[in-house]
Amino acid sequence: MANEILRMKDITKIYPNGVMANKNVSFTVEEGEIHALMGENGAGKSTLMKILFGIESYDEGEIFFDGKKLDHAGSAEAIKSGIGMVHQHFMLVDSLRVYENIILGMEPTRGPMIDAETAIGQVRELGEKYNLRVNPLARVEDISVGLKQKVELLKVLMRGARLLILDEPTAVLTPQETEELFEQLLLLRKNNHTIIFISHKIREVMQICDKVTIMRAGRSEGTIGVEGTTAEDISRLMVGRDVILKQDKKPAEFGAPKLRVRNLNYINRFGKAMLKNVNFDLRSGQIMGVAGVEGNGQNDLAETIFGLTRGATGEVLADGKNILGKSIREIRDLGISYIPEDRITLGVASDGSVWQNLIADRVDQPEMKSGAFLSSKKIEALSDELIREFNIRCKSRNQSVGMLSGGNMQKVVVAREFSADPEILIANQPTRGIDVGANEFIWKKIVEKRDAGKAILLVSADLNEVLELSDSILVMCEGELVAYFEDAKKVTEEELGLYMLGLKKQEALGHGQ
């Protein structure tokens, strides 16, 4: 039996808002293994790892690393003991160079000056050793997401980490980049590093992990070896029932175009062209998926159509009317709804109650009022109905939205936007970072809308979502539409990847279709 390197014993963590994120969780990792930590979002995976890394406190329990007890004195102690963490959102200084980021806080010096030569040499050497080749002199803002992740890994390795925590490392990568990352992880394992791999993608876990610990609702559901286990076994443990990872839907019946985008161009405030001559039609009864590596204009497309981004040129025609430059109120009144990419900043007011968030788009409508005043009776009835219909798990309509889990927060957004009964729905990453149950539910609701003849623009970085849910698929690369597939069933994930990375491009896309 291999050497036990980490033991977390009976960890309990309660957040200041009363959420019990970890309940008596015990977690053991052996040296030299790739250990997956799986669970739906809000299951407590990230919290457990933040506790291990010393950036969250815990209320009960003990942590032993390499036989020594760790106090939670902060991440400095964790780093010193040999624990490193690559966060989901990279912790890099964009304006600094790669090597500067890696040596930050542990600079080799010559007199009072930073010894850049030695530092660059160290970074190169480490990169060679682990096959993580990044130009040390490049500025972080200029390199791709995949390379940034390599920089993060180098940063952790430079600090002598023997246990690496990777928080959803593949969420932002293309299929090709993911493969590359996996090779690097296997190389790390060969060098006797231990890796904790947080993920909720079962396929990836099956591919490279040795063991998997599953968390559900703040508890550990146990650790099992990956060999001899099926994906269904793991998914059952994750949600407590069998999940359908596929979306069944009737064949699409496309109707008349509802939204026409013509020659849309947008240059952002840094002078970068985010949308280059985009043309397409979105028809009724159609779910149009927009795929692409993040930052290639998909978000700009969604925000421009909905009026959140100003300054684009071209035309966006809804029912023949150009909505470019109209206010969000006017755009909403034309029957367009929007599920934003970032629910915390654009989707909800976290301090507001569930009911306050549910009526934000319709507070001026007569259905919310009696006379000049808001009718609490009508608002309460509507809120309770939406809470029931969309299965929002909250104590009451008066609970603050910030206290709900990510999935339930998203359901608040979805309930508001769907109940506005839109003709056109723009769903920008509608299921990002939420649990499988809520994910399934939102998919089902989107398909219902499509079956009712509505038009849906689905922007998603999750290829599985794009492929499963869309009727047709657009691919964006560097602000351009590089591919259109009328029938989403006729394209594979690998093929999409080639277009997303700009390795392939359909010619004659002048008109979208």
Binding site: I14, P16, N17, G18, V19, M20, K23, D59, F306, L308, S327, I328, R329, I331, R332, D333, Y338, P340, T345, L346, G347, V348, A349, S350, D351, G352, Q356, I359, A360, D361, V363, D364, M368, K369, A372, F373, L374, K395, N398, Q399, R416
Partner: protein, 356 residues
């Protein structure tokens, strides 16, 4: 925490803050005074020793209610600024000008003067609001700078156009007798201004808690980007909030002029705007608590005045109470352990419930 325990927690925190500040002041009095017990007694019980003194408390709390409401209105919309200070002052000037320069029939003259005050306060506070919406200028900075512009503009107007040459100081002409608010309790100077203030409390409460406008103000204060994405016209609501907030301060200024003074006498900013911030913080930005909070501040101030007159302790000691209360109420860390205990206890109970 649910709503009930949050309210309980906030009340405990406020009570504790007041308690600690009083204890602190008592300790200082014990060291500094030759007659500490008498000083403490006259401060705490002083306002109740005569009707006139109690009247003083009510009189002092009236302008505080107006500026407290003004701050509540603005801060609920997330507009952290101090335009109510300058708004209050310039409203006093405008009301004075209207009262002494216009020659209107009695009732009308009064109405016009009150409206002139409210309008001046509203306009003064519109400036930082408009600059924020149109130019994205920070409203705290612009309103602070504007306050001094308004001060000297006001003094200029009073000295050059309203000055009564019969007075040795830079006072204005006296208001016509029929302009003065009528006294409602003999033996005190409590006047109908207090009633106007209380009506304003009800007005702001209904506006903020019962109307679509108030809902929008609250949502913008909580997350303006979300409000914008939901289709709320954020810029318009911000400007409206600044206007209403400024008008409340302005109405307060006019009320103070005709309730407590016979002519304009200010030589500097009276400070009611700053006090409004304290009032609103202690009231947790809820209009219904503003009268209570204003009463508290007025009470300790009058108490301290009485103490200063009867003993050797100066009334400035009130500043210590104010400072400690503000620090304690706005400090997140206070009672954190207690809050943590409440949270943990509740989480455990729910946990037990959902398992049982």
């Amino acid at each position: 925490m649910d709503n009930k325990s949050r309210v309980r927690f906030e009340i405990m925190k406020t009570a504790l803050a007041i308690g600690i500040s009083l204890v602190l002041v008592f300790i200082i009095i014990f060291f500094a005074s030759n007659e500490p017990l008498k000083a403490i007694h006259s401060m705490l019980a002083g306002p109740f020793t005569s009707l006139r003194r109690f009247g003083n408390v009510i009189e002092a709390m009236t302008p505080l209610m107006f500026t407290g409401l003004s701050v509540t209105m603005l801060y609920r919309a997330g507009l952290f600024n101090l335009s109510m200070e300058g708004g209050f002052f310039i409203a006093c000037v405008a009301a004075t000008a209207s009262a002494v320069m216009l020659n209107l029939p009695a009732g009308l003259n009064f109405m016009v003067a009150m409206l002139a005050g409210a309008a001046a306060g509203g306009l003064a506070s519109l400036i930082p609001g408009t600059l924020k919406v149109k130019c994205k200028a920070n409203e705290l900075v612009t309103s602070l700078m504007l306050n001094y512009v308004l001060l000297y503009l006001g003094l200029y107007i009073v000295i050059n156009f309203l000055h009564d040459p019969a007075m040795n100081a830079n006072y204005s002409y006296a208001f016509p007798e029929n302009m003065l608010l009528s006294r409602i309790l003999p033996g005190t100077r409590i006047n109908t201004g207090t009633i106007i203030a209380l009506v304003s409390v009800v007005f702001v409460y209904i506006l903020l808690d019962k109307t679509a406008f108030g809902y929008k103000v609250t949502m913008i204060g909580q997350n303006s980007r979300m409000a914008e994405a939901a289709g709320i016209n954020v810029g318009r609501i911000i400007i409206m909030s600044q206007l209403i907030g400024g008008m409340l301060a302005g109405l307060g200024g006019a009320t103070e002029m005709f309730g407590m003074y016979k002519r304009f006498q200010y030589q500097g900013l009276p400070g009611y705007g700053w006090d409004g911030v304290l009032i609103a913080i202690v009231a947790q930005f809820k209009p219904q608590y503003v009268p209570l909070s204003a009463f508290f501040l007025a009470y300790i101030r009058i108490g301290a005045d009485i103490m200063a007159r009867q003993t050797d302790v100066p009334s400035e000691i009130v500043a210590i109470i104010q400072a400690v209360v503000i620090v304690l109420i706005s400090a997140e860390a206070i009672l954190k352990g207690y809050q943590r205990k409440l949270v943990v206890k509740q989480a455990r109970e729910e946990e037990a419930l959902s398992n049982g």
